[in-house]
Every structure is written in structure tokens, then in C-alpha cells.
Amino acid sequence: MLEIRWHSRAGQGAVTGAKGLADVVSTTGKEVQAFAFYGSAKRGAAMTAYNRVDDKPIMNHEKFMHPDYVLVIDPALVYTTDITIYDKEETVYIITTHMSTEELVASQPRLAGKTVHTVDCIKIAQDTIGRPIPNTPMLGALMKVSGMYEIDFFKDNMVRVLSKLPQKIVDANMDAIQRAYDEVK
């Protein structure tokens, strides 16, 4: 069982990102689950979303998990929420920030000694999509760090997942995914 926790603000697309990831993973024959903690979420409120991936049907509906990956798509959440809660020794972090990994870890001591990757999904999204929606670039970074799928296979599938959007937006998302894949450190 692979378990992923997203830290986001409502409106940044973590739920769409988690469901998009689940959709792509499902095409490879695996069982998937994507869900979120909403509350009566207001745009901008801190929230978490989750993915589970397994080879057998996923029966577990508890919201609690010890994540294998923690994906943070809003830079400030590193300081205002405990993104390390319930982690384990092997947990891998991919965090959106304009800082280098060293600067980030120095600024948040909780991350010391953990496996941390950084990428500026907000800037990438602004440059490509024109809006600070950092969900799809985070998926590009996840593909690079996890080696889950070849980036071309992943992008082809994401084109299908996003097919309801205008072509221009789909193309911009593909650029965002590729850039985050190339730039994650």
C-alpha cells in the first residue's frame, strides 16, 4: 500500500490533483482511493487530501495514515501546520517553495533529517497556466521523485483527465508538469 498526503489551501486544487493521480494510476490496473478533509472549507483554509494505491482492493476507510509521501503545494503551510504529523522514517517530502532545500530545512527545524525535495510549483503554475494553481506541477515533481511512471505516459494520461478544459489550458498544464519534473531538487 502506497499512501500520500497532500497539504494545500482550499482552492489550490489538491482534491483535483489527488483525483487526477488516482485516475492515471487506475489505468495501470492498480486499486486507488482519493479523498480529502473538507470541513466547511472556505477558499484559502488549510486542508489535507489523500491518496492510497494498492495491488488489491482498498478496504481501509480510516482517514488516519502514516504517509509514504507528503506533498505540500502551499509554501506557508510548512510553518502554519504540522506537515510532519504521523510521518515515518522513510516518508518523502516534496514541498513547494522559492527557497533551496537547505534554506527551507533551516527555516523549519521539524524537517531536519528528513528526505526533502523542493520545487516552486506556484511560480511554475503562474508562468505556464497564468494562475497560482500548483496541483498539476506537483504531480510532475512526484513522477520525478517517485519514479512511479515515465513522464510521457503520465502526461498522455493527464491530457485525458483534463480533457474537459480548453486545449490552451491543457497544454499549459502539460508544460507545468514537465517543468516541475525537470526542476524538482
Binding site: V15, S26, V32, A34, Y38, E62, F64
Partner: protein
Amino acid sequence: MAFDKMELRDIEVWDGNFAAAQAMRQVQIDVVAAYPITPSTPIVEGYAKFLADGYVEGEFVMVESEHAAMSGCIGAAAAGGRVATATSSQGFALMVETLYQSSGMRLPIVLNVVNRALAAPLNVNGDHSDMYLGRDSGWIQLDAYSPQEAYDLNFIAFKVSEDHDVRLPCMVHQDGFMTSHTAQGVKTFTDEVAYDFVGEYKPMNDMLDLDHPVTHGVQTEEDWHFEHKARQHNDLMTKVMPKIQEVFDAFEELSGRKYNIVEQYDMDDADVAVVCMGTSVETAREVAKEMRAEGIKAGVVGIRVLRPYPFAQIIEALKDIKSIAALDRSSPNGAPGMLFNELAGALYNTDSKATLSGYVYGLGGRDLTKAHLTDLYKELQANADAGKVLTPLQQFIGVRGPKLTFL
């Protein structure tokens, strides 16, 4: 008006809401009267979009309340249409008066209930308070534990509800957020296969059949009221279960997916069993497997059909069990839980010597973790070993503060 078919992949990644909306499209509902409420909103929103995009031939009636939503459904069903809607929580509570109207008028309406807590305090998350509120309303109640089941049970609901021997409305329940907003793989039917399974709607006593005038919504006083209610109860007690079984069998033949009136998992040789509903059934299944590695013969019983109450099937499922836990996800507010009471009622006149203990859990969406269930199974094993309940009869799981126990 013509409508388009939709191409679906064999497995789509859908949440429970979208799965229910797709089923509502595939059975080509004539009228949806709806007043959206969290977390069920995307169901009627989805149907409205399918309608606007030309994928379904029907009417979407926007109304000013849930009371009006069900009233609109009653009117459309009495007129002779295939009718459905969706609601949750406060909306369900506001519908209650009309729920009794629709079942008493024998109108086969399907209501998707995305289970959510009842205020106060206000809470949008999933528990079973609304489902429990509906249990004396004369409706059939089916419970889904996953998005796949929310999809499947909708087809089953229409087929059972619209049968001319049944003609009773049917709720399809799913857990708010835990199913409704959780995306998982859903095996789909093509539009043709889905529609053909349910079949064309054949109205009975419909008001638009002008050659055969009928009266709906009549008044009966002490002269006839009791007979009407007794007849409705009789049909719920005698006609519905055989029909559900028949439709479950037909559904299994079509899809390979088997549903049972009472679901049993690892129950063949079980000593201890958890009885619950909703997503908790699946989490408990996983924990029961893990308990077996620790030497506890654990099983799970899931209530698939809450109404009519599966009295005989419950007795059969629990007959060899030594220790039973009834898990209620609704505050009994001054009583033992509903499942506790109803399991006790079923087992009381049998030879069962099982211990029975009740647990209230998960109110307002509070997580039921695997760790909670592990502790619970250990408690049940201790009860089984002692041959009596070693704890108070009613305990609360997962509530903060000092441990709450009663009775």
C-alpha cells in the same frame, strides 16, 4: 427530444456522488426535483449537467426546499414518471413529512441519501443520524459501503422499488465524504446494459392515464387508515425481501458482483463479530483479517438492507457467534443504539448465548481507525472467553475526554 449515449471506460475513477449521478443518467429518470445540500449536492448537480448536455431526457425541477423537492417528486411519480432525487442531513429532516406521504401513497421514488450528521451543532460530515431518522418512514433502505456499491445499488433500487408487487420508495445510502467524496475505481455498465437491467418504467395507477381516473393523497380516518398502514407493513414484511433477493441474483448474473441482504465476511468459523454499516464495514473487514493473524477468529456483518429489517438473516448470520458488537454511528440520545436494540430483538427468542455490547462511534465524521477496531475485537474476545460482557453495555469509541460508558 433525443439524447446522446456516453462512452465510459470499463473502470472509471469516481466518487460515490458521481457514481450515483451516472446511475441516475443511465436509467433515464424523467423528473428530478431537488434542493441541493452538502454532501449530496454533486448528485443532483451531475444529473442537471447530464440533462443540460443532452445525455438524458427528463426534467430538472428547481424548488425552494427539500420539503418541496420530495413534494415535487411525489407529484411527478403520481403522474407516472420515473423519479429520483438526493439529499442529506437537515434536508432529509425537512423531507420527513413527505417521506411518509410517498411511501403511504406507494410511489416508487429513489432517494439517494448521502449520510451526514444532524445539527446542532452544525456539521457537514458523515454519520448515520439521517439514515436512522428515516427508518420508520415506510421506505426501503439500502446501504452502500463504497462508490462502486453506490452505483450498483441505484440500479437495484429502481428495479425493486418500481416492481408492481412492491411499489414502495427506496433510499440508497452512502457515507458522506467517506464514500460521497472518495474517488475509487468503479466498474461501469454501458448505457444500454444499465438501462436494460432496470427496464422501461411501467407506471401503475398513474394520474396521467386519463382513461383510468384515480385519486391520490386521500384522507382515511379510523374506518380505513389502519388497513392501509397494515397493508403497507405487510408488503414490507413479506414482498420486499424476496424481490430484493431476486434482483440481487439478477444483478450478480449481469455483473458478477454479489450483494446479500446481510453481508458476512470471515463469518464461517468466527467467534466474535462486529455488526455495522457504511464504510466501517470495509475497514472492519481489513481489521478482522489482521485479528486472525493474532489468533482471534474475527468476522464482520454488514447490514445491506436496513429496511425492511433483515430479522431472519441476522439470526442466521449470528447464530454461532460467541460475542457480538453492535456499532451505531448515530447518537441514540437516551437509549441503547438502534443496532444494539434490533440485534437484541432478533436474538432474544433464539438459542444464541452470545454476549452483545453496543458502541456509539464516528459522530460528525469522527474517524473510526483500525486501532479502534483492533481494541474492540480484543474486548469481544475477552467477553467470549468470560461468557459475559465484561464492560458496560454501551461505550463510546473515539470521543475525547474521560471514557464514556453507560448501562
